[in-house]
């Protein structure tokens, strides 16, 4: 099975702070990581590849430094990596991003000389949290999709996907090729070893610009290809100045809290 995993380099949102004056993100000193859901997608892909053979290629659209993220995937089981990077792609919303990725997937298939049977994405990126790019890639490529995957099993020449739902899960069958988006799994992605890390360092990561993606229509990329516009951003205001009881006997403190709740007619 030939697999393509789409990954994104994101700032570690646990480390992000907002500038209280300018209301913009302070990115300085914030570490970049591979979007955690994408690492689960990659792990599912590597496990499928180990079982049935084939090749796993990882791609990412982003600035030149996103090559680091691709390299970390090469160290945990990916066979090849491509960086999709061009000034013409900047400012893309999810529609334009998914278009660029879908055209890139076709270009990578040409370079690899093989079609992908399965395209994997994380269910969403932890910076934008939209969960839109995976299904939109499927739509651009006219492929079936299964989202919120907890596991993928090869069966009858196709796949069965364990899909998260409200009270448990659904088993969904589909033919290949298909697009699947992956949630947090019951197991953790593998760690690189010194040896795999050294191996990944030696690999070349080709950069694809519009020149290497012959079918791409630049009118559908970047701001021009993006129907949405961010009008403003601000930091959420959540400050309340409530009562805080400190250093009191637990029974007495609990009594005061109950009084407060009773006064507010909440009991």
């Amino acid at each position: 099975m030939n697999i393509c995993v789409c990954i994104k380099q994101v700032p570690d949102t646990n480390e992000i702070k907002v500038d209280p004056v300018t209301h913009t993100l302070i990115r300085k000193g914030v570490p970049s990581i591979v979007n955690p859901f994408d690492m689960y997608a990659q792990e599912v892909g590597v496990r499928l590849k180990e079982k049935s053979g084939g090749r796993l290629v990882v791609i990412s659209m982003g600035p030149p430094q996103a090559a680091q993220a691709l390299r970390s995937c090469l160290a945990v089981g990916a066979d090849a990596a491509y960086l999709i990077s061009s000034r013409s792609f900047g400012g893309s919303d999810t529609l334009a991003t998914s278009y660029i990725l879908s055209e890139s997937i076709k270009a990578v298939e040409e370079k690899e000389g093989a079609r992908f049977d399965l395209i994997l994405c994380g269910k969403q990126a932890t910076d934008g949290d939209t969960a839109q790019v995976g299904p939109e890639i499927a739509e651009h490529l006219d492929l079936p999709q299964v989202t919120y995957a907890l596991d993928i099993i090869e069966k009858d020449g196709g796949i069965q996907v364990k899909r998260e739902q409200d009270a448990g899960y659904d088993m969904i069958a589909t033919k290949l090729p298909a697009v699947v988006t992956v949630v947090k799994l019951p197991y953790e992605p593998r760690y690189p070893t010194l040896k795999t890390r050294m191996g990944a360092k030696k690999k070349e990561i080709p950069v694809l610009t519009e020149a290497e993606i012959p079918t791409i229509d630049l009118a559908m990329c970047g701001l021009k290809g993006s129907p949405t516009r961010v009008k403003k951003t601000y930091s959420p205001v959540r400050e309340k100045h409530g009562v805080k009881i400190s250093g009191k006997d637990p029974v007495q403190a609990a009594g005061e809290m109950v009084e407060f709740l009773a006064d507010a007619k909440l009991l």
């Binding site: 700032p11 949102t13 992000i16 209301h23 993100l25 999810t94 529609l95 932890t126 910076d127 934008g128 949290d129 939209t130 969960a131 839109q132 790019v133 995976g134 299904p135 739509e139 651009h140 079936p144 999709q145 989202t147 919120y148 899909r163 739902q165 409200d166 009270a167 659904d170 088993m171 969904i172 069958a173 298909a178 993006s226 129907p227 949405t228 516009r229 961010v230 009008k231 403003k232 951003t233 601000y234 930091s235 959420p236 959540r238 400050e239 309340k240 409530g242 805080k244 009881i245 009191k248 637990p250 403190a253 609990a254 809290m257 109950v258 407060f260 709740l261 009773a262 507010a264 009991l267």
Partner: protein, 335 residues
């Protein structure tokens, strides 16, 4: 780009499963009603499923002016291909200006597929929806970067303007039995070979569904609770308050509670009247999920925990002492 004047009215997609509606559709009608009034346009419920005429009637009682239904055996269970085809066909027939969808797993599966086919903009997981005074466009506001930042997004040149909203962010309106409206039945059939996925099996692992989105009172615990064993204390408090049990992500990661109970950016978004945050420090991702709570009370041993910054009332102390004291006090009061 399209001729914007050809598009009018606000549509709300009402998701059903085996003919039963999901609440989020009705919650969206309540948000959209004042927007439709402000624009002077109609609010239309769109219901796709099997045996759903009753749902369409209820949607009108919850605030829709009229409803469009697509009924057929191929819609009994959600599939990406059938539902995308039905919605896209309806949009092309009627040209709505705005389309709102509940951000359930199925809604978030279908939304981007539809917006991509229609080449229009979609804003995910909105927490505020307004009309921009200058342009008349919908202003969709959503948390981003893990809740660290709010962003207001518009779709100025394409229609319909699409957005999803998570369940529980808004409340349902009152059910008004006297409301009437037209229900239009549209025939859209999808051939079996057009549906490329098959539901092989549905496994319900949770015998009792956890309805955090609809809960009035939630007792939630975090890493500070310390162990799965200590959650019994929280269960005791939840029992006397008739509350639903919730937790933070750290608790799910530690395996103390199942994911169905998780509150926050990567779990459920909740809007209860009363929220107990016990041993929850208050990471921004958690605070984003409880932004809709009316009253928050916190118990934490760390006086500097960020949760106290959003709490109406808080106790700095040992939860294994405070929580049983609270339970006993409330029990005595109710007896």
């Amino acid at each position: 780009m399209c001729n914007l004047d050809d598009y009018k009215n606000i549509w709300v997609f009402i998701e059903t499963e085996c003919g039963r509606p999901k609440n989020v559709g009705y919650e969206l009608l309540n948000v959209a009603r004042p927007l439709a009034d402000q624009k002077g346009c109609a609010l239309i419920a769109v219901v796709i499923g099997k045996d759903i005429e009753g749902v369409a009637k209820d949607a009108i009682c919850y605030g829709a002016d009229s409803a469009i239904i697509v009924d057929g055996p191929e819609y009994e269970h959600y599939t990406t291909d059938a539902f995308t085809k039905a919605i896209v066909t309806l949009v092309e027939r009627y040209r709505p200006e705005t389309l709102m969808i509940g951000a359930t797993n199925n809604g978030r599966d279908m939304g981007p597929r539809v917006s991509c086919r229609l080449k229009t903009g979609l804003t995910a997981d909105c927490t505020e929806i307004d009309i921009d005074e200058k342009t008349g466009n919908i202003a969709w506001t959503r948390p981003t970067f893990g809740g660290n930042l709010m962003a207001t997004i518009m779709c100025p040149d394409n229609r319909p303007q699409m957005g999803t909203v998570r369940p529980g962010v808004f409340k349902k309106g009152a059910y008004d039995e006297s409301r009437t409206g037209e229900i239009t039945k549209e025939e859209i059939h999808v051939a079996p070979e057009e549906i490329r996925t098959t539901l092989v099996e549905r496994v319900n692992e949770i015998t009792e569904a956890v309805d955090l989105e609809g809960a009035e009172v939630i007792v939630a615990g975090g890493r500070g609770v310390g162990s799965a064993e200590n959650f019994k204390l929280l269960e005791g408090l939840a029992d006397v308050l008739d509350a639903t049990l919730g937790c933070s992500r750290a608790v799910v990661d530690a395996g103390w509670m199942p994911y169905a109970h998780q509150v926050g950016q990567s779990g459920k978004t909740v809007a209860p009247k009363l929220y107990f945050a016990i041993g929850i420090s208050g990471a921004i991702q958690h605070l984003t999920g409880i932004a809709g709570a009316d009253t928050v009370v916190a118990i934490n041993k760390d006086p500097d925990a960020p949760i106290f910054g959003v709490a109406d009332h808080g106790i700095v102390g040992d939860l294994t002492e405070v929580v049983p004291a609270l339970t006993e006090n409330i029990k005595a009061r109710k007896a």
